[in-house]
């Protein structure tokens, strides 16, 4: 089902396929933690083609590959390679494909992972293309929620903060809606979820600009960073910035089992005190990138 397959867009994965990925990821947990050794991918080579920097994503792929006994080649700074001399992506991909068994690509232009998948004979995994897709981030977000609640259907998930530019929340909203969650969108007027994303959701989400409107209902508070640069007027930014801050006091109103997630890095959207509450899951979420990516690598390489 997965062997040889490209992972380009979250929209190409069915619920059953996501369940398989989560199941394999769960089995990977002790290996990801270093409690058990594995040589599942012994002799396999992962090529990481990072045309723009994203250290965390790259390192979590590298960690995943190493934990399974495989090795990694690649670059994280295209200016040091022939790409800066004007080589096409198609050519770079064909060469790197011949050096490796699986490719992970991060690229500033939209659709580049799809193009890479066309030119590579080995599987290609999209690690973010422009404002487009970033399916492994979405999968690790879903895995974290799945781990907590077992089922995603029927959960109330609030997406909070910059919903306009935040790529992670776009594919996440799509996937959550596909899996039957109820979605609440919480953002300042200026940073609302684009209408073409909302159009793709199964049910019309609840939209508000106040966290207070959703705090009592939400099972998941998925917080994203609001960047100052997005605001034409700095005083406008000051007005909204504070209102999207998750504090332990605010969480007193939340459900007992509610969890707080964040794709990280955070700045001041989540007060440090929250780290010590039973609600914090963002570090768990970041760690989950490793077992989820291990599962994907093992699946597309056909060893599980």
């Amino acid at each position: 089902m997965f062997k040889g397959r490209d992972i380009v867009s979250i929209k190409e994965l069915s619920k059953e396929e996501m369940d398989i990925i989560f199941e394999v990821a769960r089995e990977m947990l002790p290996i990801a933690r270093g409690e058990r050794k594995s040589d599942l991918l012994d002799g396999k080579i992962l090529a990481t083609l990072f045309f723009e920097p994203s250290t965390r994503t790259r390192l979590s792929f590298e960690s995943a590959m190493h934990r399974l006994g495989g090795s990694v080649i690649g670059f994280s700074n295209p200016s040091a390679t022939s790409i800066s001399k004007g080589e096409t992506l198609a050519d770079t991909v064909r060469v790197m494909d011949s050096y490796s068994d699986v490719i992970v690509i991060r690229h500033p232009y939209e659709g580049s992972a799809r193009l890479a998948a066309e030119f590579a004979s080995n599987p290609v995994i999209n690690a973010g293309d422009g404002a487009g897709q970033h399916p492994t981030q979405t999968l690790l977000d879903l895995f974290t929620i799945h781990q907590e609640f077992g089922e995603i259907e029927g959960l109330n998930v609030a997406l909070i903060g910059d919903l306009k530019y935040g790529r992670t929340v776009h594919s996440l909203a799509y996937a959550l809606s596909y899996l039957g969650a109820n979605i609440y969108l919480v953002s300042p007027e200026l940073l609302r979820m684009p209408s073409h994303i909302i159009r793709e959701l199964k049910e019309k989400p609840v939209e508000t600009d106040k966290i207070e409107d959703v705090i009592e209902d939400a099972d998941v508070l998925y917080v994203t960073r609001i960047q100052k640069e997005r605001f034409p007027d700095p005083t406008e930014y000051k007005k909204v910035a504070g209102s999207y801050r998750i504090t332990s006091e605010l969480l007193n109103k939340a459900k007992e089992k509610a969890i707080v997630m964040h794709p990280l890095p955070r700045v001041d959207e989540i007060e440090p005190e929250v780290d010590y509450t039973k609600h914090a899951r963002y570090f768990q979420q970041a760690f989950n990138g490793v077992p989820v990516r291990m599962a994907l690598l093992a699946l597309v390489l056909g060893v599980v």
Partner: protein
Amino acid sequence: MEEQTLKVQKIRNGIVIDHIPCGMALKVLKILNINGDIGSTVSLVMHVKSRMGCKDVVKIEDRFLDEREIDKIALIAPTATVNVIENYKVVNKHKVELPDEIVGIVKCMNPRCITNQREPVVSEFKVISKNPVILKCKYCEREMGVEDIIENIL
């Protein structure tokens, strides 16, 4: 009845593009690259009242269309019919039909799409709606409506 609805004289050889959605005739000419110095007679009737409502008609003498041009017309005028005229007679009449995939005749409107960079690929779109026409880029997944399509026809 034909005489009455077309309102312009018959042509000897060439094509009549009929049932163009109202107001789209100029755009049809634009995508066929027909401008001032074509050298043959072009007649155009806009806002013809018909039983179905309203339509535009374009007649072009001594000009024929290839597959690619017919697909282009289908994109912006999905209801159109193309009549081929020889010696004042219709020798071939067919409805344009939009294929399920559009390859190489429209460029993606997204400037940050990889197909708009220097890569060895042709643009490719899935037709996700035929009326109104909506195309979705196979690469960046951006959707384009009729106005965007007209702007980006190759």
